[in-house]
Amino acid sequence: MKLFPFIISAATTVGLVTVLNSTLVLPAPLGKILNPQSGVWQNAESANENFNANLIFPSLKGNANVYFDERLVPHVFAENDEDIYFIQGYLHAKFRLFQMDLQTKAAEGRASEIAGSKAIQFDREQRRLGMRYAAENSLIEMEKEPKQKALFNAYTNGVNAYIEKLAPKNYPLEYKVLNIEPEKWTNIRTAMLLKMMAKMLSSGTEADLEGTNAKNIFMPDELKAIYPQVNDSLVPMIPKGTVFEKPAIVPIKPANADSLYFNNQKLVAAKQAYKPNINNGSNNWVVGGSKTQSGSPILCNDPHLELSLPSIWYEMQLNTPTCNVYGATLPGSPFVIIGFNDSCAWGVTNAQRDVKDYYEIKFKDASKKEYWFNNQWQASKLRIEEIKVKGGISVFDTIAYTIFGPVMFDASYNGMATNVSENRNLAIRWVAHDPSDEASTFYNLNRAKNYDDYLNAIKSFQCPGQNFIFASKTGDIALWQQAKFPARWTGQGLYIMPGQDSSFMWQGFIPQSENPHIKNPERGFIESANQRPVDSTYPYFIPGQYLIPRGRAIEHYLTTMNSITTKDMMELQNNYYNITAENIVPTLLKYVNEIELGENEKKYLDNIKRWNFMANADSKGQTVYNVWWKNLQQFIWDDELKKSKNNVAYPTSETTMELLIKDTALIFIDDINTPQKETIIQAVTTSFKTAATMLARYEANGGLEWGKINKGSVYHLLKTNMPGFSRPNLNVGGNDDIINAIHDSHGPSWRMIVSLTQKTEAYGVYPGGQSGNPGSKYYDDYINNWAEGKYFPLWMMNKAEATDKKVMATINFKKG
């Protein structure tokens, strides 16, 4: 009997420990997390943290030093290539391990291992997109040359050298909260990361499914007007009037294209559930010496991506006897991606070109083992994917691979379709699946000395299509739109294509030398901002999801600017000019019927009448315009587009603007659901009144200032799962169609300005901080500067400056 109290209390103790050590009852293992000796308290980095260290690794070939400046940017000095990438891997892991691990697992379709069953659909879509397949193909190419393979190995070894010595109590905080372990790095994970970029930038730049459904609603000439290939307002990267060579390839349209393809009215239900943001765009421009105060070129770049903490970028300087480069690196990949060396600078924006097409497959039966192709049944390769689920049982998904590529959509997977009656088997043909080694482009760019080196470096870059902008100290400025782009016959790949024979397949690729490019133009500047690269005289059919306004705004300024300084360029990167608004607002004001407006509504109208077309944080005009214009577009298009239960492409804001300015009697203005015929006056006035009720709500909930509506935010990678770890509601202006393209949690992820004077003068900033540790003061310390449009000078350090007071700490790497 005396044992009874003991048994009760002992059982209670064991029970309590079990509960606190697991997620059986609690959402997180609180004992594990909150104990001070191995929980998250260990991640509370001292404000005076000493980053000095001496490290010895047997795999190093020589000795190396890493000097951290006061912003925690490492300046790495190594004796050879392999050591520098070993150290780059080591530092990426030391400061950004969780992000590398999470991003590559997500890219591969393994998010459920971290997030549990809620990520299963995401994982299925990643696998059906063939992300792992793409990385496998890439890896073969990356490891073909032993010298190249050694560099990737060195990087991988560097990451693993850090992981191997990492005690659980020092795991990044997120591992502890999620109760998971870091996974060893491999070269294919580097390939996965680059495929993540490929998806981000080239898997949302087509609208084949949405276009297929639009074909059912609109007549052929209407389709051309609503979804034009070349917008009237386009200002291409390659100036109009440029003469293009005769094309080396002239693809032939199949004889039956009209009946089987253009006039095919079949609908499609499938809808990509995780289509990348169309505004994953960017700005870059370069001004030649003729337009700058110093007489040397200035290069500017700001890639627009989903903003996150930790940031996608990590700043570094990498120095070896044959290379000295500074810039933004991608944790998970060796090399500097956007940056400059002692001779030149380069940057990238997205090409927005369509490099992914859908083909309809006819399977023999539900087993998907055979499909009809060129008059016979062909065997498909079935890939059985196991999706492991945290806290649950594995999900298996069978994906058929055809001659085109993986069958992404079929009876078992339709993305986020709302309508299942139009199920079709759709294989994708995507350039990102082709074997290629994009990373070596950056290895070579890091070492480029002149224009020829730059051109050689980028030639092999296949996917995603990028606008590589370039400037050198010798005064050259240039831009190439570079990728492996299919040569299409007019109309090819706008819609789902027949996949029962080879007649609709791509017939070849545009030769690299015919990719749009420009070097040292007389006007003294080059810009790219995701617009169509060329006007309609370019001899190839090049569909894409182009973004027009930012390029126009940049041209507007650069055309007239002279004696340009780096300060001018900072101002331009942070510019808020709304060029679309300036074009459309006169039409809106002309047709709004003020007699119908109440007092409060007139007040909102006054905001827009007095507006200077700048979308800055305190602008009320931008808010009124934004809500009004959005409502007017819905008034015009929703009645037609909502006829379909399926996903239909929405005409772009620029196209609608152009159509309205050209023709105020546009037939689409009429609301087809009402008996009477609406005019532009009714459309503009009704949409204004609808907007006004929304604006009244905004006004009551904090104000009409654009910064409050725009909600510039930088979220932790785990988003709402990590409240307190994000920086929401920064009071910033901008929008997707504004040069300073901040909108919600999307925008300039790295702003860089490089003046190629004899001693390089460079500036940069990104919305984050060098440390991925939320318990570090370096976690988000750049965000205020970024939001205010301020920059840091980028210090291209030389080794003799090791005793400079800017050097805050040193890590010495020794071979041993």
Binding site: K2, L3, P5, F6, S9, A10, T12, T13, L16, V17, L20, N21, A28, L30, G31, K32, I33, L34, N35, P36, Q37, S38, G39, V40, W41, Q42, N43, A44, E45, S46, A47, N48, L173, V177, M722, P723, G724, F725, P774, G775, S776, K777, Y779
Partner: protein
């Protein structure tokens, strides 16, 4: 005297154990100390409870102060849904002290059952 010795011994051994072992080794420590030093069950609970409360609160406080509470602000919002660093330290300390207290109680009961 036993009261103070128990507190000190539990705290010290818990700290040492957690340098190498998982956090719940504090339960083992508190159990052994209570089984060795004869005390009434209530006192055994209390000494272990106090030992771990002081130890863990002090450690949290020390780590977080050096960090200017940067981390504690964020984690408190995550775990207790309030931006209260010191409350988070208290919650952390309570987890350790409750586990240790119960283990101490068990140790004392075991001793009595012989």
């Amino acid at each position: 005297m036993k009261f103070l010795t128990s507190i000190l011994l539990t705290a010290l051994l818990s700290f040492a154990a957690c340098l190498y072992l998982p956090w719940w080794s504090i339960a083992v420590v508190a159990f052994i100390v209570a089984a060795l030093i004869p005390q009434k069950p209530g006192k055994a609970f209390l000494t272990a409870f106090i030992a771990l409360f002081i130890l863990w609160f002090a450690l949290c406080f020390f780590l977080s102060s050096a960090n200017n509470n940067v981390l504690a602000h964020k984690v408190s919002i995550l775990i207790i849904k309030m931006d209260k660093p010191y409350l988070l330290m208290t919650v952390s300390a309570l987890i350790g002290s409750l586990v240790a207290g119960l283990a101490g109680l068990s140790g004392s009961y075991l001793r009595r059952s012989k």
